[in-house]
């Protein structure tokens, strides 16, 4: 976007708020997003917090950012590069500058460009003056001063006044993109219900920013981004991936008529799932903050043994710690959901950054042959749907199922059409209440011929007293067995259980055969789709096959792969899905690996796909 002509209508815009951790950028971004969504835009967001610890004010590691793409068209990513950057201090400018395209607009809080702040940001001279920003349209305003001025009548301390400056900046942006103030005004009234002075101060700051932009001529024009027309009718809200996941899990348990048990140990970026679920207690959700990840998963397996819809959630390092116990769940054939909100590794890695490098870990990271189901939502909202799907699969086949999301999905948000709970089908549970063997005895490992599920005989059921454990089992009876043939049979049976899962065919976007097939999975969906669309519009033959089910693969995958001359697999890892596809289907798929700790940019995908197409 350039701000050349006045009154222009845009079909999509990307903006980024950036400031110090204490500057309230996440709040500002969220408000902009909600308002945009409420006026009918499609939106997608990408919050980018600093590393775990709050750095001292003004430093580079302390910078917090929030990017939003909003539009009247289908918005699938938070945007590659911002049209507008709001930079609340020099550090925020410095950290974000390299992401800006030439001609982008930068709104800076001039007040913060003090000598000491410049130094903290590592600027030798003032970038507002030394020509650093000549490629951009810079709008510098003394936002702090203006905010103080607007609030001079309000009886709160000056620290509290200064903390309102983000709302001033938000007001400016609301004017620039012609957004109503009411949703934010209302939200503020609720949030500070108990502190009326703060409500007033924030209201004034927001309005002041809006009016300031309106009356001064700092921007030559403002923009309209009309409501999107592709969104189905209905009631919407914003939802982030972790919250959608929590809602999905609770829904699944309700639909199965089971209590939900969620055992977890806090870890970035998965903790919010625990936080959300701990607010669902009225729907029989039992959250357990365990002493560590091993206790979390084991408690969940204990709950599964007891007949709960058992879930455990964590991020990659936590999955490593849970591996041994997940192997037990495989062996005892109990339903279990393991949520892995991936983050950048190896080891502690870059814990606040996103990545997809745990796929092979969840596939193979256990001793012995211990197959689990694996599903991967493509968008924040889909975390809801696939959480339900994962529960259905786990309960139907009596197996552990992984849900693989990532930091990008977890914290990203999108408009979510509220489902009608009545439309969501019930989930059948394999409880058994009477002996299924000779003389009414329990055959605990009598497998259903279709699903290969074993019966779920939970403690409390008279007459079905039995013992299970991690030692190999005789098929049918479930007693301990060291028999060679039986072991081979059981290993294959456990693998077959996963193969038997009924999962929908993979969605194909684009022609059903042709030049180039892009196989993607998880949170890269939006970027991959947008890139492919762009290329198709440019006349290229390119199709996307996005996988939401990875173990088992959808049945149509093999045939699909064989219908294209080339196959490329873009992933935020060093080629993990690609390896699985090559091994399984003997298709010479090309890997496009990226481990930057952040989502794909549409542009880099377009470039890579074009290159492969023209090779």
């Amino acid at each position: 976007m350039t701000t050349a002509a006045p009154g222009i209508s845009r079909d999509r815009v990307t903006i980024r708020f950036a400031g110090d951790s204490g500057d309230g950028m996440q709040l500002t971004g969220t408000q902009f997003t909600t308002t945009s969504a409420m006026i009918g835009n499609d939106v997608s967001t990408f919050p980018d917090f600093p590393a775990e610890i709050r750095a001292p004010a003004g430093t580079l590691p302390g910078v917090s950012g929030f990017q939003i793409q909003f539009g009247s068209v289908n918005i699938r990513t938070p945007g590659d590069a911002p049209d507008v950057l709001v930079a609340m201090n020099p550090a925020a400018l410095k950290v974000n500058l390299h992401d800006l395209p030439d001609g982008a607009t930068i709104l800076v809080n001039e007040d913060s460009f003090s000598e000491s702040n410049l130094k903290k940001a590592g600027y030798a001279s003032n970038p507002l003056e030394d020509g650093t920003l000549k490629a951009f349209r810079v709008v510098k305003q003394p936002i702090t001063t203006l905010t103080r001025e607007a609030l001079k009548e309000i009886g709160i301390d000056s620290g509290s006044k200064d903390r309102c400056k983000n709302l001033f900046a938000l007001g400016v942006m609301y004017w620039l993109y012609d957004r109503p103030l009411e949703p934010t005004l209302e939200w503020l009234s609720t949030k500070f219900k108990k502190k009326p002075l703060l409500v007033e101060a924030n209201h004034i700051a927001l309005k002041a920013g809006f009016h300031f932009a309106d009356t001064t001529e700092v921007f030559t024009s403002h923009y309209q981004v009309p409501a999107a027309t592709h969104l189905p009718a209905g009631e919407y809200r914003q939802v982030m991936g972790n919250e959608a996941l929590a809602l999905g899990l609770t829904t699944a348990a309700q639909k199965a008529g089971l209590p939900l048990f969620y055992g977890s140990y806090p870890i970035t970026p998965a903790s919010d799932v625990l936080h959300h679920l701990s607010q669902h207690k009225h729907l029989d959700v039992r959250t357990f903050q365990a002493e560590d990840e091993m206790a979390a998963v084991c408690a969940s397996i204990g709950a599964a043994f007891g007949g709960a819809m058992a879930v455990t959630g964590t991020s990659g390092p936590g999955v490593a710690l849970k591996a041994e116990a997940i192997g037990l769940a495989v062996m005892i054939e109990l339903p279990l959901i393991i949520v892995n909100v991936q983050r950048a590794g190896p080891s502690t890695g870059m814990p606040t950054k996103t990545e997809q490098a745990d796929l092979l870990q969840v596939m193979f990271g256990r001793n012995g042959e211990s197959p689990c189901g694996v599903v991967a939502p493509a968008t924040p909202g889909e975390c809801f749907t696939l959480a339900i799907e994962a529960c259905r699969l786990a309960l139907t086949h009596m197996v552990p199922v992984f849900i693989l999301t990532d930091g990008y999905l977890a914290n990203g948000a999108e408009p979510w059409l509220l489902p009608n709970p009545d439309d969501i089908p019930e989930i059948k549970v394999n409880f058994i209440t009477e002996g299924n063997g000779p003389d009414g005895v329990l055959n605990g490992y009598q497998h259903d011929p279709e699903t290969l599920a074993r019966p779920w005989a939970i403690p409390g059921t008279p007459g079905l007293e039995h013992r299970i454990g991690g030692l190999e089992k005789w098929d049918v009876t479930g007693h301990i067995s060291y028999d060679p043939e039986n072991h081979h049979h059981m290993c294959k049976l456990r693998a077959e259980k996963i193969e038997r899962m009924v999962v929908p065919d993979a969605e194909l976007i684009g022609p059903e055969e042709g030049e180039l097939l892009v196989v993607s999975w998880g949170g890269t969906y939006g970027a991959v789709l947008t890139a492919a669309e762009e290329l198709r519009l440019a006349g290229k033959e390119i199709t996307v096959c996005h996988l939401r089910y990875i173990n088992p693969f959808p049945k149509n995958l093999e045939a699909t792969l064989r219908k294209f001359k080339k196959v490329i697999v873009p992933e935020l890892n060093l080629g993990q899905l690609c390896m699985m596809i090559r091994a399984k289907f003997m298709v010479d798929a090309i890997s496009y690996p990226k481990v930057h700790g952040r989502p794909f940019q549409v542009a880099e995908l377009v470039a890579k796909f074009s290159e492969v197409l023209s090779d």
Binding site: T34, M38, W187, E235, Y236, R237, Q238, V239, L247, T250, T251, Q254, P259, F261, G263, Q279, H280, K281, H282, L283, D284, R286, F288, A290, E291, D292, M294, A295, C298, A299, I301, G302, A303, A304, F305, G306, G307, A308, A310, E324, A325, L328, L417, L418, P419, P421, T433, I458, P459, G460, T461, P462, G463, E465, H466, R467, G469, G470, H479, I480
Partner: protein, 336 residues
Amino acid sequence: MTSAVVQLKKKDFVSDQDVRWCPGCGDYAILNAMQRIMPELGVPKEKIVFVSGIGCSSRFPYYMNTYGFHTIHGRAPAFATGLKCTNPDLTVWLVTGDGDGLSIGGNHLLHVIRRNVDINILLFNNKIYGLTKGQYSPTSEVGTVTKSTPLGSLDRPLNPLRFALASEATFVARTYDTDLKHMQQVFKAAAAHKGVSFVEILQNCPIFNDGCWTENLAKKVRKDKVLFLEHGKPMVYGADKNRGLKLDGLALEKTSWEGDETPADVFVHDSTVESSVLATLLTEFTDPIPVGIFREVQAQPYDEALINQLDVAKDKSKGQGLAELYRQGANTWTVE
């Protein structure tokens, strides 16, 4: 199908599995004691679950004709916690060993105890890793020579009861494998306690650590080397009941007397004091070794408190369901 509780007998609790401990293993007697008290608890078989980790001791569930879960090494407390949170109605027994419970599983044991989950924990202490064929354990004395410590072990041993007390255990007791009656008493008291019960059982492993408790428990010396704790009773022991413990500053000292009358200064055991100091003091004794109930205080179990929270939340929510949940804390808008 319902089960008639009243008529249950010991044999109803014997499973169809062959018992696979070594001949002479102390675990047999413990199993026997447990199967004997089962009918007396008045709990139907299907409501009883034995959970264990890995170790010789952890084979226990296979031999009980109840529900059983032989989990993985050291983690039984976590499984039991999840199970109780799902169904607090169940009577859950947790069987662990000195290795399973205090080595790999120390952390989970600590936390299940401090949470006061309403389960009964039995720690079989044979001061050795039996199942892996004889390495020293966290309760082995310094200098123990085993396969992994040919020159003697270097680590100072843990005292399981002191560990349990520091973990804020509400019920702490000790018994031993060769006293069937005492075991039964202690097990029944543990079962009766609401909240976590922690019981150390001194157990012999004739194969890898034979005689590990004979210093106190050998038939010949037992009377003089074991102190049977009874709430409200003076701490008297000895074949002739003429020895005892009395307070001296912050210590308990041994004392003895002639004649039948127990002197007034012999300390009277009180297992119900809130402070864990007396119990801690008793754990420091090895001659005589105290057995019986060290501590027994009341506190709300975790699982009960959890269910209470659910109930309160349900009440407050006034029947709100999924539809309301989807809107909870969010702004919504409508696309026409």
